[in-house]
Symmetry: C2
Subunit: 414 residues, 2 copies
């Protein structure tokens, strides 16, 4: 395994830091925004477009790829990098989030997660009446139904790690239970026990597979990814701290996690605080990934509270539905006022879209339901968020983080 | 106006020729396949992708752009080239084909033209019961309803030319009535009289607008396109010949058409013959465009019978629905046999798709309904057809056309 985390500079008086994560497929300069490529594709973009935006790393979803095309196909292709023709670093998540969200959604007419402003998980409870049939949690794992065809599947920590080893990303995650923030503290505590038990099993199985891979002398870049444990605990300080401590201390044969994820389930206003609870305890010398977070204000909060990497579908999902990011806030490009606006989405933006196309043209493409509409808006949004976080990195290195943040929010409006 | 057609080499014993069309936005080396960009976008592709494929010229649709975003918006943008960021040569069609096809379709649940193998126009007759209300032809023009919202519009030759001058392509077409091949010879003859009357009016109005543009000293590249008249006449030799002769002879103040279109309405097996009827009469020193034709066998027939340029939606439409072109014939990439085929669509193909992606990956993208699926397949198909015709050009120049054609059909199967 080639995996090394280096801190270059710390943010004075805060938990934030700038550094780098070295993987077999290249270096991620942190803090960094990681782009989501759910089904082994960053929606609508080819590899060159991903690279041109300045994207350093792509995160694909284990749940989706397990169901379609199947992790065995991806393994046969030589792993995700070869399958999707992306030569840079990659992550896969554990599948936990989708098992509990999309699995629940099957047959209920719910096709999209409502990761809105206030809550980062839907309010449906896995144990709500009627849902029990679709998602069933036991001591060892989770029975769920595919959102595609309703077929039954059972994920355990071992299964999730097996799939992720087949997919072959550089960084993978332990299987966890992702709870809704509306759950009782009692339920959160029970779920956290499961998450910790599964974290240990994930680590054990990962080390077993890694050792087998070494014995077979197979190429280490495919077979031995870095494994991150996931801190859960909802909105509860004592649970978050308990979780961070448990995962920080967890060792199997003297080997711990290579880094940590912080699982979603915050209320927006206290996200920074909840992230800090975990990061004050997690070992400073290992990287931390905040799962599913990507709004500008959240990215600043995450970075100053010690998060190194983020992933989120928001830039591409917003892009495909006509919402574009600008330094002044979000614009709805379909609005009539843009029909004859022959300027780019953002003056001075260096993305391919702004260098080549006007608001009027993109407005037309959205009204005409043309595929290029979502592509151009996604390129712009990913460029915006990627470079916003890259700017935070540079600001930490330059000792100008507070000024960079103030400068941003002086203009940006939600 | 900068417009010049040069013949470099003729195909021995046939009507075919290799040459070039010089426009204000660059040279089209002929024979050439022109790519359709209906709504000022080659579906799913940005300008760099269009250029990288080797596409020389894009044809946009007058009917669609008139309805959305409106030709006044495009004019305000500085014309089509600026609006869609395509700096190469462009054409617009007259709107006639869509007025008679899409206009008819509104409210009837027909959303796509069935330009299938046998007929190049749908079998619905504009004067069928119930359709009369939607498309009404009179001496001066056509009343039709928008396929988007049912609103009523009236196209005349003057209106079509006005719109096309606003759009600002390099090559535009006279307004014509595009009939179905199932019409009686009596109806075809009546329709041809209208097409000829409208051709004269188109030319008169075009010259008037061009003169006004010159007086105002406005940039000639936007204001003075080349105008092509359209030969119609269905499957009938005497009508096709009459049409070619009328349009070849037509002059207004001593000025004739800059080139000619040959309008669709053939049966597949006699297309080459019907094209030859027209091209034997049309002046040799002016370029000829065959409208809406793009299947490999039709392209060969067209080229050897003296066609210089072609346009067709087939490569992109097929691409979006998972049919890809190969030297052995078409493949349905969604078929199960490609799920673990880790080779490119076509070995040795130099398109971006084949250089970077496998059949297995594209198969997965189609099954997952990912946008990138249609993009990658469209790139490959456009590359295939563009280079097939470019190869015909080279073969004419090298005196190897028959060998090139034989080599292609020795392998290619429908």
């Amino acid at each position: 395994m080639s995996f090394k985390f280096t801190i270059t500079k710390k943010l004075a008086g805060r938990l934030g830091r700038a550094g780098s994560i070295e993987t077999s497929h290249g270096i991620i300069e942190t803090p960094a925004f990681i782009t989501v490529g759910t089904k082994a594709t960053v929606k609508s973009l080819n590899s060159d477009q991903i690279k041109d935006i300045g994207i350093q790393c792509v995160l694909a979803n284990t749940y989706h790829l397990y169901l379609q095309p199947g992790d065995e196909i991806v393994k046969k292709a030589g792993g995700l990098h070869k399958f999707m023709n992306w030569q840079g670093p990659m992550m896969t998540d554990s599948g936990g989030f989708q098992v509990f969200s999309l699995g629940v959604a099957f047959g209920k007419g719910i096709t999209k997660m409502t990761k809105g402003k206030e809550l980062l998980l839907p309010e449906s409870r896995p144990d709500d009446e009627g849902l029990a049939k679709l998602v069933k949690i036991d001591h060892d794992g989770v029975m769920f139904r595919s959102h595609l065809d309703g077929s039954a599947h059972y994920f355990t920590p071992e299964k999730s790690i097996d799939i992720q080893h087949n997919l072959g990303a550089d960084i993978i995650f332990a299987f966890d239970e992702c709870t809704s923030p509306t759950e009782s503290v009692h339920y959160q505590s029970e779920a956290l026990d499961r998450t910790h038990r599964w974290a240990k099993k994930s680590l054990e199985h990962h080390l077993k597979l890694s050792a087998e891979g070494s014995e077979k002398s197979l190429p280490p870049k495919v077979l031995v990814p870095a494994l991150f444990g996931i801190v859960q605990g909802g909105r509860h300080e004592h649970l978050r701290k308990e979780s961070a401590q448990y995962l920080a201390d967890l060792k199997v044969d003297g080997v711990g996690f290579d880094g940590f994820g912080i699982g979603g389930s915050f209320e927006k206003e206290d996200m920074g605080t909840a992230v800090a609870w975990a990061n004050e305890i997690l070992p400073e010398n290992k990287p931390r990934h905040l799962l599913g977070i990507g709004e500008p204000e959240d990215l600043f909060q995450g970075v100053e509270n010690g998060v190194d990497t983020f992933d989120c579908v928001a830039p591409t999902r917003n892009g495909r539905t006509g919402t574009v990011y600008t330094s002044a806030g979000k614009k709805h490009i379909e609005n009539a006022c843009y029909a004859d606006d022959f300027s780019p989405i953002e003056k001075d933006c260096r993305c391919y879209t702004c260098q080549n196309y006007t608001c009027a043209y993109i407005n037309h493409l959205f009204h005409a339901k043309e595929m290029l509409a979502g592509t151009l808006a996604s390129i712009h949004n990913l460029h915006f968020v990627t470079h916003l976080v890259a700017g935070m990195r540079q600001a930490i290195l330059n000792n100008t983080f507070e000024a960079y943040k103030k400068g941003f929010f002086d203009i940006y409006r939600n």
